[in-house]
Amino acid sequence: MAIDKDKLLELYTKMLLIRRFEERSADLLMAGEIPSGIHSSIGQEAVAVGVCANLRTDDCVSSTHRAHGHLIAKGGDIKLMMAELYCKRTGYCKGKGGSMHMADYSIGFIGACALVGGGLPVATGVALAAKLQGKDQVTVAFFGDGATNEGTFHESINLASIWNLPIVYVCENNMYAVTTPTSYSIPVKDVATRAVAYGIPGETVDGQDVLAVSAAAGTAVERARQGAGPSLLECKTYRYLGHFVSEEFLLGGKNYRTDDEINSWKARDAIALFGTKLMENGVLTKDKVASIEADIKAKVEDAVTFARQGPQPAPEEALEDLFV
């Protein structure tokens, strides 16, 4: 492995932080503490972390309704995130955005967008600005498999290709858009194939292998940074929970995925796989894992406390922030 030990531990820790944050916030939602709906990224952590491992703070990331992992991976502050889930004035967006509309412009997280495919043109424009401004900044647009059927996917990547923009389109192919399997809605085996239509590189990687993701993303990011244009990176992954937290209740027991399928993916859990590998390589030990877990647990609880203690926005604040 070319990556140094600290970096490896950082990847592991970030994945675990995402997992624990998602678990805790799902619990708090089910307990009725969190008003904002949540789309959990549990199972998909390696994609967010593997991709963002290649980014600088001034690089940009755009995300979707399933945004927590991306924001944490980009360096987001889980206190401000949790407070936003609680819709407190102390949250990232002062309670206006909630889970699906978080942003942190100070670290280049240009925003989650709840409309599928809606963030792609915007991210493309951020990359256009970087090019016009002569910056060597790279933008990453995350989106799901379902989003690749939206017209904005097509239009955005075409624009990025003809303008040679510094952007990487990262498709988290978790095999489903809500209840609809990718095999029904996408007539090609790999989403990466679609890159052919725009004359750009397309690559499919194992989204459960954080190092594979990181390597592939590294190539694409470097390419963008060198001015060689956009790429499409597909990461095959899986979400363990329902489309949104509490979906299982609403669908009344009906499921669109078999237990076998879910279990086979869990057997390739990205964090477990990576943890095992790091242990084999001596980078990680059981003790180290325990201390990382403890540290994360403390951080997450701090975030919950911060969120709980934050003030509600005053009603009239609803009228602020429309226009500058």
């Binding site: 509309h101 379902g146 059927n149 809605s185 609403l250 669908l251 509600q312 609803a318």
Partner: protein, 326 residues
């Protein structure tokens, strides 16, 4: 008569029309395994050929609905959430609405487009749209905004049987509201308002989810001897102007309650229709008041959301204002 909720009423309307007419079909994202009750179980009864799952391609599948309608089918296209209509705006405003006219009447477009509007609760800006006013601005679309299970089922059946494109707003706040519906087949014709409550002092024209709120206010104010007449237009296009004007002539005072953006919304149109009517103008004893969302996107926080969305308190305040008692 049976008690059903709003979603069940919609569901029954769909089932009955699909049994009655083989050209009716239903399509949208995840309609085969829906999260809400509107489409529940339809696929079990009609199969995946008539209850069609679509990819995430709003312009594509709404346009496909337009084409299928032009080719003799009667599609009901489900947007899931009406805020997603913006992705299909061109297919709605330029194709569905204009095709018949542009082609000199050669074709008809018997298409229903439905979707959840209004407030699901802390769903924030992208999932809390009520854009019926925006669509009223487009000539060629009929627009349905039911407020009770009875109206929902009857209007849906009328919409499906109508030979024109109809937008059907499923206000989600009303989803679990129950009401009585008859066992036999019935429709509620498009273009006919319903007097949800008779009164003499102030007319409240209330749309969709504002109807039950207006009725609550009416109940409360009755105790003070203030008599509200609650008019539910039920369809915004065609708009039952005579019914609205008749009520205003009787009361001389008008409040319009619409849980939607204010500027150029349905409430503005209704105010304009009344104030431009020569017969009615002279009866107006007070300024018309609109009760609408505050003019911002919907925030996520429940505290902020409650502030933005119009409620009973704001309707009541508007009523008192037009009565000169604020």
């Amino acid at each position: 008569m049976r008690e059903v909720n709003f979603m069940q009423a919609f569901n029954e309307g769909m089932r009955e029309e699909m049994h009655r007419d083989k050209t009716v079909f239903f399509m949208g994202e995840d309609v085969q395994l829906p999260v809400f009750g509107f489409a529940l179980g339809l696929v079990d009864e009609f199969g995946p050929e008539r209850i069609i799952n679509t990819p995430l391609s709003e312009a594509g599948f709404v346009g496909a609905g337009v084409g299928a309608a032009a080719a003799g089918m009667r599609p009901v296209v489900d947007l899931s959430v009406f805020g997603f209509a913006y992705l299909a705006m061109d297919q709605i405003a330029s194709e569905a609405a204009k095709m018949r006219y542009m082609f000199g009447g050669q074709v008809k477009i018997p298409l229903v487009i439905c979707g959840i509007a209004g407030i699901m609760g802390s769903s924030a800006a992208h999932h809390s749209e009520s854009p019926h006013g925006m669509f009223m601005n487009v000539p060629g679309l009929k627009i349905v905004a039911p407020s009770t299970p009875y109206d929902c089922k009857g209007l849906l059946k009328a919409a499906i049987r109508d030979d024109n494109p109809v937008l059907f707003f499923q206000f989600i706040q009303l989803g679990l509201l129950t009401g009585a519906i008859p066992d036999e087949d019935y429709i509620v014709p498009l273009g006919v308002a319903d007097l949800k409550r008779e009164g003499t002092d102030v007319t409240v024209v209330a749309i969709g989810p504002m109807v039950p709120k207006a009725l609550t206010v009416a109940e409360n104010l009755a105790k003070e001897g203030i008599s509200l007449e609650v008019v539910d237009p039920r369809t915004l296009v065609p708009l039952d102007k005579p019914a609205i004007c008749a009520s205003v002539k009787k009361t001389g005072r008008l409040v319009i309650a619409d849980e939607a953006p204010r500027t150029c919304g349905a409430a503005a149109e209704i105010a304009a229709v009344v104030v431009e009517d020569e017969d009615t103008f002279g009866y107006l004893d007070a300024p018309i008041q609109r009760v609408t969302r505050h003019h911002v996107p919907m925030p996520c926080s429940p505290v902020l959301e409650r502030f933005v969305v119009p409620d009973e308190g704001r309707i009541e305040a508007a009523v008192r204002k037009v009565m000169g008692k604020s």
